[in-house]
Amino acid sequence: MARLNLWRWGVLGLAGLYFLVPLAASVIFTVDVPGQGVTFDAYTQIFSADGFTSSLLLSLELAAATIAVVLLLMVPATVALRLGASRLRPVVEVVCSLPLVLPPIAFVAGIVTVLKWGPEHLSRTPLFQTFVAIQNPDFPVVLVLAYVVMALPFVYRALDAGLSAIDVRTLVEAARSCGAGWPQALFGAVLPNLRAALLNASFLTLALVLGEFTVAQLLGFRPFAVWIVSVSGAQAQLSVAVSVLSLLVTWALLLVLAGFGGRTRTTSRG
């Protein structure tokens, strides 16, 4: 037994070393600048850094829009699957797994091609205006479309896990026989029971959008992750400081979520 424990603590210790050293080193890197001694400039500069606020705001807006759209699409669909449309389950499952087969970089290659159709073929049709509008740099709708697709697999898994824990049909029938209409049954009976799953799905989507780099960079927009890379050349300390902070914020969000979720496990990914 003692040997087993020794082995276990050895494994855990090595893993802890590997996973904590880069984090600790990042903090040291930002605080202990060669030639300047210990300074917290990197952290105090963050908020005044050029482009920080606008890129972070853009990312947060994109995240809010993505979460709203993906939940609007997925909640009715997954609830319907439990309410007698179970024959559609394979269709929804396939649709929500497809994005896993298309790596983001291949996806963005396709999007770039579609966006080129605008100027090439549609310049004299009203559709052209749509193409221009969805690429508005102030709020690129095209990114929301892409992120919703990329979030589908996670959101489907989170919602499906949440729904499998409750008896949707009984809930709805109980609400209906108490005189509730369909919207009331959905919002008053089903959704409150799905709180943890909805939060889980929203968090995964938020994390995805805040960290997303590939699609945004190749389409030429500048949300948070792209901004970090663009400042890294001139201000290495700053970019690492922002990276450290963004990890800490992600961690805090996850802990809050775990607290809210209570009974449900937060790591129901696999």
Partner: protein, 298 residues
């Protein structure tokens, strides 16, 4: 089409059922329409572009497999093989390191430790991308903290190399492995170990003849999943090494942004198609394995 299908399906059903079915279609239809536009269009455009060459003089396109054969030659082939090699090596190492870590956590008596490691794994598995690259640049890069204090540069250390990338990739692959394999390890009944011990088996024999065969589908499934995840990764490599290491994702990005040659966009699409084929292969191997491993967990 939706409407006719519903009508045919439900012509004989009871009125309540019919309402339920059409409600079901109504609820799922927006999702299907959305994916058809936001996912279907780019996917079709990629497929179409991968098989098209444009005549520079007339601007007319014609269908050919030229792009695909170009994407499997020269620098593009090197990049594709580089990606496969990097993903295979890091996925294999992540399985080797992730399994003992998951086992140490699963067999621990401390519930808090288990919860902490699984939560941390959930964060770190999604910690790919830009912040990960910068954390490692700050640690092991040319001006990194460890590099400076341990004088690693003199010892021939270079983060911007193949093994450098492997070390970085392991940072999100090992947590992913822990998340993937934990349910399977939970499924190993303690009775099996006791039965093996009662029959005089050693620990090695138990692992060799009982645990590993049961875990094998999950392990292979995890390996394939990690491979796919590493293969598709772009942000980390782009933020870290630029394009000093040949990787297929970096090649696609270069060709898309017109860094190489004008008119290479369609080769980028062909490369993307190559990637999709690899990813589809990964899923085709992973899903049956996952189903097989689920049999033991029931």
């Amino acid at each position: 089409m939706t409407a006719t299908l519903t009508r045919v399906d439900t012509a004989t059903a009871a009125p309540v059922k019919r309402r339920r079915r059409s409600l079901g279609w109504l609820a799922v239809a927006p999702l299907l329409v959305f994916t058809a536009i936001a996912f279907g269009l780019p996917a079709l455009a990629m497929l179409d572009g991968a098989f098209t060459v444009k005549d520079p003089a007339t601007g007319a396109g014609s269908y050919t497999v030229e792009n695909l054969s170009t994407s499997l030659k020269g620098a593009y082939l090197t990049a594709l093989l580089g990606s496969v090699k990097l993903s295979a090596v890091s996925a294999a190492l992540a399985v080797v390191f992730g399994l003992p870590l998951a086992q140490a956590v699963v067999t621990s008596r401390f519930r808090a430790l288990r919860e902490a490691v699984l939560t941390a794994s959930g964060v770190l598995a999604n910690f790919g991308g830009v912040p990960l690259a910068f954390a490692f640049v700050a640690t092991l890069g040319n001006a990194g903290v460890l590099t400076r204090h341990l004088g690693l540069t003199d010892k021939g250390w270079d983060l911007y190399s193949f093994w450098g990338l492997v070390i970085v990739y392991l940072y999100f692959l090992i947590p992913l492995m822990v998340l993937t394999i934990t349910p399977a390890l939970d499924g190993l009944r303690s009775q099996w170990r006791e039965a093996a011990q009662n029959n005089g088996a050693t620990t090695v024999q138990y692992w060799r003849h009982v645990a590993l065969p049961v875990l094998l589908p999950s392990l292979l499934g995890g390996l394939v999943l990690l491979f796919g995840s590493a293969f598709a990764a772009y942000a980390t490599a782009a933020a870290m090494v630029g394009s000093s290491i040949p990787l297929v994702t970096l090649q696609i990005a270069d060709a898309l942004s017109g860094n190489v040659l004008v008119g290479q966009e369609n080769v980028a699409l062909a490369l993307s198609l190559d990637m999709v084929l690899v990813a589809a292969l990964v899923m085709a191997v992973y899903l049956p394995l996952q189903r097989r491993s689920a049999r033991w967990l029931a």
